[in-house]
Symmetry: C2
Subunit: 128 residues, 2 copies
Amino acid sequence: MREKTARIIHEWADSCDTEVSIAVLGGAWKPSILMLLDEHGVLRFGELGRLLQDPTARVLTRQLRELEDDGLVIRTVYPQVPPKVEYRLSELGASATPVLAELTRWGTLYSTRQRAAAAEDAEAAATM
Amino acid sequence: MREKTARIIHEWADSCDTEVSIAVLGGAWKPSILMLLDEHGVLRFGELGRLLQDPTARVLTRQLRELEDDGLVIRTVYPQVPPKVEYRLSELGASATPVLAELTRWGTLYSTRQRAAAAEDAEAAATM
DNA sequence: CCGGATCCCAGGGGATACTG
DNA sequence: CAGTATCCCCTGGGATCCGG
């Protein structure tokens, strides 16, 4: 299970590295997680959950584990009761920041254009 | 069905535009399609299929339709027999090129690091 | 506090067969 | 040639309940 992305890579890495990026970064909460860790430096599991507006614990755990397995995030467990677990970006994880920034930039551009187009449509419909 | 992405946008655009980009660009064949159209300018349905190493016609059709609905691709039908359909990038579609380039760049970086890590592991195992 | 175990569901991708 | 129609399957996200 640890080798999921690794297997993907082995199969068709050189053919399309774009898919690799999407496979690694494309989880439902992964971009947000990476951006939050980039912004805050270190965050505990619970803090992440609250900042993300409470995804299911199971889901958040999985996203974080996958990011850890893929080497983007470093998980530190403090052996104490109650438990305390901290997450922070690895160097590789930090290297993904420009990609996320680019995705955000284009996403904003796209949304703007779509809203503009929708407004035009509405106007055209009103003028008819 | 046409408004799928549009609805997504309306719901949580401003919160995370990154997700929008992934929703629009994240299809199984979409990055490759966009890059091929960027490179070749104009391509017919069949040409695209061959260059992509034959995805199912149904799948390719859906990917192209979604890209068209999202305004990234322009579809031109020539009313003749046998049919001829051409695809090319819209301005918006062309604007996605840097994003794809960035994804490819980081995907390559990631793959390289992973391979290096795997090699280290193998070496460590051999030395044990 | 930080999860693991179990169950469920939607939908995206694919195979196959057919058509204007 | 460029699709459409049907069917299947698997994955990823989520809800709920339980545990150290």
